[in-house]
Subunit: 158 residues, 2 copies
């Protein structure tokens, strides 16, 4: 851990406070760093922009990708004021940064009524046992699209 | 399962095909239905808009919330051409629709090289054992923001 790491996390925490104070959303902030510089910042904006996916990490990842004109965050580091929820964790894996620093953890989040653990538990359940009902239909029809993809020559993989 | 369910899933599958053919992204489509009507549609647009979070479900959820001017999809049903990845599953739990219909499953996705299972496995690991390195720092400093949230009187919970 370096002074720079502390400085970037300090900024993520500041963003968490800023977003909360301005009623953007919950108390969470994040920055994306590349080559020792912050290239994107975000704070939770769920309730102000009516977007349940606008968590700090997702906002920062989207902005960083827009700036770098890429859909992957190779050689980037994410600093987030709280351990990512399952959605943000998924977003992080799709964006593929090098490393993630986090400050608070999921237990701290639960203590202020952000129950990420509930979603972690749901994800681990068999699909038919989840609280939101999941029903499969038309698998065969949908598989024809996957076949088309397999045979597609001009595809961009990710 | 009703004729309407089949019709909505057919549309999700059509969107998957459209998105793929127009090189928007991977072969995945989704719709959000409320009161028996499609209120939002989406297809995967990751590689065309440089947004690793632009999966079909996330795109459709964002559009539906924008349209309904809310950050929750109460009384809505999501139809997606493939079982949601962990990121989309997280987004679904935050949006809280009533039900989800899916067509292909994660094994079908893996067969065309979309390895959602890898991310499911990573999520279940202890944070220190993941392939992307997660490091905790400045928890104490970040907790002060959570305290501010706890004491905030004009907060919008979600």
């Amino acid at each position: 851990m370096t002074d720079k790491d502390l400085q970037f996390m300090k900024r993520a925490i500041e963003l968490a406070n800023e977003g909360m104070k301005s009623n953007a959303g919950g108390p969470f902030g994040a920055v994306v760093v590349k080559d020792g510089e912050i290239i994107a910042e975000g704070y939770n904006s769920v309730t102000s922009v009516n977007d349940p996916t606008a968590h700090a990490e997702v906002v920062a990842i989207r902005k960083a990708c827009e700036k770098l004109e890429t859909f992957q965050l190779k050689d980037c580091v994410i600093y987030t004021s709280c351990e990512p929820c399952p959605m943000c964790l998924g977003a992080i894996y799709w964006a593929r940064p090098e490393k993630v620093f986090y400050a608070c953890n999921r237990e701290d989040a639960a203590a202020i009524d952000f129950d990420d653990q509930f979603i972690y538990n749901e994800i681990e359940k068999n699909i038919e046992d989840r609280q939101i009902k999941f029903v499969q239909l038309m698998q065969k029809e949908a598989l024809t699209v996957f076949d088309n993809w397999k045979n597609k020559e001009d595809k961009t993989e990710y």
